[in-house]
Amino acid sequence: MDFSQIIPALPDLMDGMWLTLKLMVMAVVGGVVLGTVLALLRLSSNPVLSGLAKAYVNIFRSVPLLLVIIWFYLAVPMLLNWITGEFVAVGAFTSCLVAFMMFEAAYYCEIVRAGIQSIAKGQVNAAYALGMTYGQAMRLVVLPQAFRKMMPLLLQQSIILFQDTSLVYAVGLMDFLSSARSRGDILGLPHEFLLFAGLIYFVVSFAASRGVKHLQKRLAV
């Protein structure tokens, strides 16, 4: 075992980590936004809308993320091609980002739905009594409280997402794991680089979940 070779390779690994983090942050933001919309649809009184949202969540929650990543990698360029009629080059990054956003939205939807349902009915009634519209009541009264309540769960899910980004290895995107693997192979030290990658994932996830636990205690009313 020779870990000294990792130091000169750090800039390359940082590039990989940068891609991992970029993918994660964009997927979390997109996933939460889409998940919130889905949650509102699921709770809507219109049976068609809530049925569609329910089907979306059920389908995405019953298939592996890896399947979705590969599906989208192959399908997104084709779909765009059909829609626009011309050949559009979609990078692996974009197709992975779309896959993560749509997949995670199903999980975020369930968290947000539980969060909204945990807000006392009186809050909504009070908002309506003040003459607010549905949009205003959600935006100004319900969602701010719900998000505060579900923040720990959303962050926990985001830590899982951080770990799951390593699956982009399947489509050859140079994330942290892939760059560690390729560096290790080039230098003939695959074991060392792999273990190092595992260590970094561990440190980041462990520290982050400690932080979430701390936050949970602080947010608890």
């Binding site: 019953s62 298939v63 890896l66 399947l67 399908a75 770990q163 390593s166 699956l167 561990f202 979940s209």
Partner: protein
Amino acid sequence: MNYNWDWNIFFKSTGIGNEIYLDWYITGLGWTLALALAAWLVALLLGGLLGVMRTLPNKWLSGIATCYVELFRNVPLLVQLFIWYFVVPDYLPESVQIWFKQDLNPAVSAYISVVVCLGLFTAARVCEQVRTGIQALPKGQSNAAQAVGFTVAQSYRYVLLPQAFRVVIPPLTSEFLNVFKNSSVASLIGLMEILAQAKQTAEFSANIFEAFTLATLIYFTLNMSIMKVMSIVEKRVRIPGLMVEGGK
């Protein structure tokens, strides 16, 4: 661009022997089931043991279980798989190494790696569910067990575990479903389970949409049927009056 939709593709010859594409999916389903069930057995036994350890009064035992959970939960599954498949075999005793790398069929050695990896990975999650289940029981239960003179082992054997295992059925069901989904990472080390078969079908036939739609349907059906079966099991074993309807 022209895309030739052809939903009959699954009944067409693959060009290899006299197999049709559907045969590939059946083989794939077989591997997925074999992976998930074996890994689940490992996860349930080890996770149950660790879950009990975490609730024990002994600091050492609960500390070991906590470390295990933190380690296996904070490293991505794919990294763990690569470690089990590429790194660990090199540190086995010489004779085992030769057996694992040369004598065994490559598919079997990949299978063993995935089962070990997925089993230990899932055990950490099962442990947390079992712990939560035990801790959710009213304190009076273990006090009562002590009061009638049970040892710690007896109180777990006769009082706590029989109740806890019923409480944890719903969360364990979702972990069981996760094992099936997670088993798809096996495709990345060349094991031909469902996802790998779908990928191969897409490459051979160029019917990408059909190939992946069938894989999606298989996973979806698998998921739905397991959920149905587990909800029946849950109703069967429920203790009347102890748990709220729906098991939550």
